[in-house]
């Protein structure tokens, strides 16, 4: 399937639709990343209303028509509530729990993590995912990109 023939748009206002060329149309599509952590921005899968795969696009950013990509991005933004940490303002281990205060792309947030061996996942040497006690996700794509205070907090705890 040629991604260039895919047209994704909202209609009605909050429902993402897909038409393929002129012959096929899906009233509801759900975009999901196949490997959001290890291959961010690549391998986008479009699912239909029943959760069946319609197609997988290896490089959605280049392959999709620009308006479609914009619509998909909007839907992805709504579906992926993972926060990307831009700075660690404070972090402290006390009595087995770690209390964090972070600045993220979605704003400031305080959270608690427990049992860091299981809830701090190193996806590579510099890529970290923190899961708080409720299962909320906080991602640090590149530790080295953080300011030195943030790095010091993380180094002290992990």
């Amino acid at each position: 399937m040629d991604p260039k023939t895919l047209r994704l748009f909202y209609e009605p206002r909050d429902r993402l639709r897909l038409t393929i060329g002129t012959e096929r149309s899906y009233p509801t599509v759900k975009p999901v990343w196949a490997a959001p952590l290890s291959r961010p921005g690549r391998y986008l899968v479009l699912l239909d209303g029943k959760g069946e795969e319609i197609t997988m696009i290896a490089n959605p950013k280049e392959a999709l028509p620009p308006e479609s990509w914009a619509a998909v991005q909007e839907e992805l933004r709504r579906r992926y509530l993972t926060a990307t940490v831009t700075a660690v303002l404070h972090a402290k281990v006390e009595f087995g729990a770690t209390y964090w205060s972070v600045e993220t792309d979605r704003g400031r947030r305080d959270f608690v993590t427990q049992n860091l061996q299981e809830n701090a996942l190193w996806l590579s040497d510099h890529h970290l995912l923190l899961l708080d006690v409720d299962g909320n996700r906080f991602e640090i794509p590149d530790l080295r990109a953080l300011d030195s205070t943030s790095q010091r907090y993380i180094a002290a705890i992990l």
Partner: protein, 732 residues
């Protein structure tokens, strides 16, 4: 402790800014994600007539009349969820998003909206959960849980101390000996000082020399004796208190409700029995005496120093704050480094364990190099962490040594001058010098005590949390004959209160009947069984045994009358005979053999070189699936229950084995009320009646023939299955 409650409008306070509207909010919930996906607050408000969303600035950003709504649901998102409503025209409209922290509340809200839309009474459970500690405003690790920073140290300490009560004589003895040890430690330098003053500098009283030496010998001998005694006391107390703590925790865990185990991982629970108890007794038996002895010593020495010469004492003690400060400031980073090293070790262990367990797969895929690479990576990590931690440790240790030695230096300078100026005797100088060593040493560990204490308190908290958790109510044992009549009356249940799995189930089983439970995977068959075994209790409705609410029957007695055969039978590491006898402790060998015969297991057991003495391995790993299953059936036969439960007992074995198991089951079900779940519907042909479940509701009930005739849900299931069987060529 009812899970549901009617929300009274008066319970809910009206927010600011909505005063003008006369409609009273029935549901008001704060969401934590704003319109653009940023963290922020929005308020969901449901009144008798509409659903609305308020922005923090008091603007209504979304609104829909309840009369237009058909249903409401929660769409799961990554890291949160979204409340969506479906209108009567079939349009799905997103309302607002929330993070995982609020998911349970919003799924209640969705239920509430549906109830209101259908004109039913509002029956939801929106209890206020505390997210932050009321005292210190810290986020709580578990909602409504304890705040680890604010637990009352005093109360916990007292509770820990209660474990000493059975050994109070030994504990008192230990305290006395500690004081005695302190005094005896102070004696030799004192004797030396006297010796210097009265004999050495005076050059007379040589007789005193021998007297003093005799005294010293006595002190030495008695302090060695006391040391031995103290050591033995500590060993005795440590072993006993550790054992008591472990048994206490284990016993408490055994009686915990199953729901507790759903939430926690086995590893986390095990660590409470091992690590947390270790921390507590370690502190109690090693930490407390250590602390007491050294504190006494410190005060004794300081008192003596001031008695001898206040100026010298003052000079000598001057560096102590510095030593304490170093200890406090540097202890933490160093202990963190060692802690991290410990974690790396744990990961190293885990990885090593895993790769050795998977050695067949590694060899089969010829991936030795890859695994070696991973191993090397971890090994290097470990090496570097070790080097770093030790390097830091020795640096700090060096600094500490410098400051502690400073005390000695000061003593020689100031004390030396005082002796020179005849303001102090040489003997006193000698004593001071010796005591310094006794004080400065323990001071280095000043900060460690606090850390030690904190860890012990945290461990104690976790232990007490388990001990205080709601246990299953076992009740008294009393001969309680059960004939085996079971009835479910409008039973409702959900593992998570907001998500019902069994929705109003009603049926009756007569004694001796065999009931087949049928339905797709996830329909709630195993859940029905869990309720019947009372692993969980219904949220609403009643389950009756012999016409009596089963909550009134002693749990132990009730479980004694229930036999369970699961799809994945769990065997304990031990012999085959032990495992069969688990159903009836004290069974004779003849009974065991008889049960094994009835279970069609006798034959294969005899074929093993050790027969009934064959070790089954961990979880029965040395046996095949069918063999394990037949042993678990033999175990149930020996248990001789009135009610027998077979949950997919034959699903994971081949057809030939299944036939043998079926035969055994046939013998087992005679005269008992049986509930059987089977994946292959044909195996339920002998059932007296079948109950067809769909999404937690009873869809159909009747005999095999009746249901086939009706051509309903069951008929369709059978059709699909035989069609599939024909395709894959499995005989029915």
């Amino acid at each position: 402790m009812s899970g549901t409650q009617v929300v009274q409008p008066s319970d809910l306070k009206e927010g600011e800014g909505l005063g003008r509207d006369a409609e009273e909010p029935l549901i008001r919930l704060e969401a934590d994600i704003g319109p653009e996906g940023r963290f922020g607050t929005r308020i969901l408000e449901v009144t008798a007539s509409r659903v609305r969303v308020w922005e923090p600035d008091g603007v209504v950003s979304f609104q829909v009349p309840l009369a237009d709504l058909k249903s409401a649901r929660n769409e799961p998102l990554v890291g949160g969820g979204r409340l969506e409503v479906t209108t009567k025209s079939g349009e799905i409209v997103p309302v607002l998003a929330y993070s995982m922290s609020l998911a349970a509340k919003f799924s209640e809200a969705a239920r509430g909206i549906e109830q209101l839309a259908r004109g039913e009474a509002l029956l939801i459970n929106l209890k206020q959960e505390r997210m932050r500690c009321a005292k210190c405003d810290r986020l709580l690790p578990e909602k409504d849980g304890i705040c680890p920073a604010c637990v009352s140290r005093g109360a916990t300490m007292l509770r820990i101390a209660r474990f000493l009560r059975p050994y109070q004589n030994q504990a008192i003895m230990l305290s006395l000996l500690s004081v005695l040890t302190t005094v005896l430690n102070l004696a030799p330098p004192y004797i030396q000082g006297t010796l210097v003053d009265q004999v050495l500098t005076a050059h007379r009283n040589i007789g005193l020399l021998f007297g003093l030496m005799a005294a010293w010998l006595l002190v030495l001998a008695s302090s060695v004796g006391i040391q031995i005694l103290t050591g033995r006391l500590i060993a005795f107390l440590a072993a006993n208190i550790a054992a008591d703590l472990r048994s206490g925790v284990y016993r408490a865990i055994e009686f915990l409700q199953l729901a507790y185990f759903d939430k926690k991982q086995v590893g986390a629970i095990t660590s409470r029995v091992t690590q947390d108890t270790d921390r507590v007794w370690g502190f109690l038996v090693d930490g407390v005496p250590y602390f007491v002895t050294n504190a006494l010593l410190l005060f004794g020495v300081i008192g003596f120093l001031f008695y001898v010469n206040w100026f010298l004492a003052f000079c000598i003690l001057a560096p102590i704050p510095v030593v304490c400060a170093i200890s406090v400031f540097f202890w933490k980073p160093v202990s963190q480094m060692y802690h991290r090293g410990g974690q790396k070790w744990a990961r190293f262990h885990m990885h090593l364990n895993e790769s050795l367990s998977g050695i067949r797969v590694i060899k089969a895929f010829a991936q030795e190099d890859l695994e070696y690479g991973k191993f090397e990576h971890r090994n290097r990590e470990l090496r570097d962490a070790g080097v770093r931690a030790d390097a830091k440790w020795y640096t700090i240790f060096g600094a500490m040594t410098f400051f502690t030695s400073l005390g000695v230096l000061i003593n020689w300078t100031v004390g030396g001058y005082l002796v020179y100026a005849h303001k102090m005797t040489l003997g006193d100088f000698w004593r001071v010098n010796a005591y310094l060593g006794l004080v400065y040493g323990p001071l280095q560990w000043f900060a460690m005590i606090n850390n030690w204490f904190s860890r012990a308190m945290a461990g104690a908290e976790r232990i007490f949390e388990v001990m205080d958790a709601d246990p299953e109510r076992y009740g008294e044992e009393a001969g309680y004959p059960i004939t085996g009549a079971v009835s479910f009356e409008d039973v409702r249940f959900g593992y998570d209160k907001s998500n019902p799995v069994i929705k109003g189930m009603t049926f009756t089983a007569q004694p001796g009947e065999m009931i087949g439970l049928v339905g797709k995977s996830g329909a709630g068959k195993s859940t029905t069984i869990n309720l019947l075994c009372r692993f969980y209790e219904p949220d609403a409705g009643t389950i009756k045994l012999d016409g009596k609410d089963y909550r009134e029957i002693p749990l132990k007695e009730m479980r004694r009358q229930i036999g369970l055969v699961l799809q994945e039978p769990f065997l304990f590491n031990g012999t085959i005979a032990d495992n069969i006898a688990y159903g009836k402790p004290g069974a004779t060998f003849e009974e065991i053999v008889e049960a094994a015969k009835a279970a069609n297991a006798h034959h294969f057991i005899l074929a093993k070189p050790d027969g009934y003495d064959t070790m089954v391995g961990e979880r029965g790993a040395k046996l095949s699936g069918g063999e394990r299953q037949r042993i678990s059936i033999a175990r149930a036969i020996l248990h001789n229950p009135r009610i027998l439960i077979l949950d997919e007992a034959t699903s994971s074995v081949d057809v030939e084995t299944e036939k043998q198991i079926q035969e055994a089951v046939g013998r087992l079900v005679e005269g008992r009320t049986t509930f059987a779940i089977a994946h292959r519907l044909s195996t339920l042909r002998n059932a007296t009646r079948l109950i067809v479940l769909e999404k937690g509701e009873v869809k159909e009930m009747g005999t095999h023939a009746e249901l086939m005739e009706r051509q309903g849900v069951f008929y369709n299931l059978v059709q699909t299955q035989s069609a599939i069987n024909e395709i894959i060529g499995v005989g029915t």
